[in-house]
Amino acid sequence: MNSFTLALRQVWRRPLQTLINALVMGLGVGMVVLLLIGQEQLRDRMSRDAQGIDLVVGPAGSPMQLILSSVYHLDVPIGNLPLDARERIHQERAVERTIPLALGDNYHGYRIVGTEPAYAELYEAELREGGFWAGDFQAVVGAAAAEGTGLGLGDQFEGMHGLGDGGPVHGEHPYEVVGVLERTGSVLDRLILTSVESVWAVHDHGHDNGHGHVDEDQGHEVTAILVQYASPMAAARLPQMIDGDTPWQAARPAHESARLFAMMRPVVDGMAWFAVILVGASLLGVVTLLYQNLRERRYDLAVMRAMGGGPGLLFRITLLEGLLMVLAGLLTGLALGHLACELLGAFSEAGRSIVLTGWYWADGQWLLTGGILLAGLLVAILPAWLASRINVANTLRRGY
C-alpha cells in the first residue's frame, strides 16, 4: 500500500465517471493524434512520391490536377501532349533527365503506366523477381498491385480502359508479367509499369474500335513528362520557358503539395480547436471529480491524518488521483487516434489512394503527451493543496 495504490482505489470507486471523463479526453486527444500522425504520414508519403521529380510538364490546365494525376496517381489526367515536347525540354541544358508517362488503362483499379525503367529508379525500386520489359506487352508489377491482383511472374492479363476498375477490356493485347517489384513505400507499389510503346499499341487498336484516346493524326502522345533538373539553374528558367513559349504547362510537385496542405489547413485547424475544447472540458471534469472526492471523502482524509499520515500524503494522493484520471484519458486518446488512423488506412487502401497506418509515432505526440500530463498536474495542484490543509479535528467532530 502506498499513495499510488490509495489513489488508484479512489479513482476506481467511481468507475463510470472516470470512464466517461477518460472517453471525453480520449476523443479530444485521439483527434489530435489522428491529425498529427495522419498529416505527417501524408506529408512523408507525398514527399516520397515526389522525390526526384522537380517538374512535371503536361497539357495546359490545372497544375494541381497535373500533379495529382501524374505524380500521386490520384486524379484523372488532363489530356495528352506530343512526345516532341520531350525534345524541347531537353534543349534546356540544366535538365538531367526526363521520364514520359502514358496513362489510360488499369487492371482491377491498378493503373497501367507506360513509361521507362528510369521511372522505377526514381523510387530506388528493386526487382523481387524477373526483369524489366524487352519488348511490347510486357509488364512489371508493383508490390501492392501484385498482392492486390494476384499477378505473378509469367501471368497474362488484359488491361481495362480508363483509370478505375470495370472499364471495357482491351481483349486483343494481353500483357505478360515479366517482373515484380519489391515494396518501396511509394506510389510505385500500386502501379503496373510497361513500355510507352505498349500503351500506344493497345490504344492504336482501341482507336479503331472507337474508344481510344490517342489521336494518331497528331503522332504519338504521352500524358505527362517528369523532369529532373541537373542544376538549380533549370528551376529558374525551365518553368517560365514551358509556360511562356509552349502550349503546355509546367507544375512543381513541391509547390502543389504545399498548396494542397494550405487548402486543408482550415479544416485541420477547425478539428484541432474542437479537440482542444474536448481536452479542456475533460480537464475541467478532472477538477470537478477531484473536488467532489474532496467533499465526499473529507472524512477518509481526516481519518488518514488521525492515523498519523502527514499533509504531504494527502497532497500526493490527490495529485496522483488527478494524474491517473488524465493518464486514463491520454491512453484512451492514443489508442483511439492510432486505431482511427489504422482504420482510415485500411479503408483508403481499399480505395487504392494514399496509404495510412496506425503503427506510426509522430514527434509531436511526445509534446502532446507531456503537455497533457503537465496540464493534469496543474489542475490537480489546487485540490491537492486543499486536501493537505484539511482541518482534521473539525472534520472528525462534524461526522459524516
Binding site: V303, R305, G308, G399
Partner: protein, 228 residues
C-alpha cells in the same frame, strides 16, 4: 520526573472552540498503563480534549504532555509522527475507509503507524479479531460490531502506547458493546498500553477503575448550554 511516567499529563489546560471557552483543567494525569473513562453528556468537550491529546486540535493553552513529550514543543510534523507511532485512535462511527478491504484498512493503520504493512501481520490481527473470513470484505459488508472490531484492530496494529477511544460503544447493542470493550481491555493489557475512553454510555461505567476527576471540569460548560 513524574510527567515522564504519565501517559497523559495536563497542567492548566484551557481549550476553546472558536471563541467559546470549552474547558479549563488545573491538573490531571493518566498514569502509564491505566484505563481511564471520561463520562459526561455529549457536547461537553470530551471529543475536543481527545483531539487535543492526539495533537489534532491545537486550540489550547497550558501544558499537555503525552508519554513525557510536551505537544507544544512539537511542530505539525512532530505531532503527526507522535500520533502515528504512539497513539491509536478509535471513533464512535468507526471511520473505516470504504474504498479499502478490511485487510487493507488494517495494513493502512500499520503503514501510517510506521510499522510496515506486512500481510501476515494484518492476517494475524484479523485472526485475533475473529474476522479472518472477512479479510476481503469491504466495510459496508460488515455489521456494526464487526466494523468497530476492525477499527480497534486498525488503531492498535502498530502497538501504540496510548489508546484514545471516542464513544467506542455508543453505536453498538449490549452484546457488541460488551465484547468490543472486552477486546479493548485485553488488547491494551496485552500491549501494556494506556487507555483513555470518552463515553456517555452508562453501560460501561462500572468497568473502569480509574474515573478521572476530569468530568467536573468538562461537564460544566456543557450543562450550562444544555439547559437551554
Amino acid at each position: 520526573m513524574r510527567a515522564a511516567m504519565d501517559a497523559v499529563s495536563l497542567n492548566d489546560l484551557r481549550c476553546w472552540q472558536g471563541n467559546r471557552p470549552l474547558f479549563a483543567i488545573p491538573h490531571w494525569a493518566l498514569p502509564q498503563g491505566e484505563y481511564g473513562l471520561m463520562s459526561g453528556p455529549s457536547g461537553c468537550g470530551k471529543t475536543s480534549l481527545l483531539h487535543c491529546i492526539a495533537g489534532l486540535d491545537s486550540q489550547f493553552s497550558g501544558q499537555l504532555s503525552v508519554n513525557g513529550t510536551a505537544l507544544s514543543e512539537l511542530g505539525q510534523r512532530g505531532r503527526d509522527r507522535l500520533r502515528g507511532e504512539h497513539i491509536g485512535l478509535i471513533f464512535q462511527d468507526f471511520h473505516l475507509l470504504e474504498g479499502l478491504t478490511v485487510e487493507d484498512n488494517l495494513r493502512l493503520g500499520s503503514w501510517l503507524g510506521g510499522r510496515g504493512q506486512s500481510r501476515a501481520h494484518a492476517m494475524d490481527w484479523l485472526d485475533r479479531l475473529g474476522l479472518s473470513d472477512q479479510a476481503r470484505h469491504y466495510p459496508n459488508q460488515l455489521s456494526q460490531g464487526q466494523k468497530q472490531r476492525v477499527a480497534i484492530g486498525r488503531a492498535l496494529i502498530h502497538a501504540p502506547k496510548l489508546i484514545l477511544a471516542d464513544e467506542p460503544t455508543s453505536a453498538l447493542d449490549d452484546r457488541n458493546a460488551e465484547s468490543v470493550l472486552a477486546l479493548l481491555f485485553s488488547e491494551a493489557a496485552g500491549q501494556g498500553a494506556s487507555l483513555l475512553v470518552a463515553s456517555h454510555d452508562n453501560r460501561i461505567r462500572d468497568q473502569f477503575s480509574h474515573r478521572p476527576a476530569l468530568d467536573a471540569y468538562l461537564a460544566e460548560p456543557a450543562n450550562r448550554s444544555g439547559q437551554t
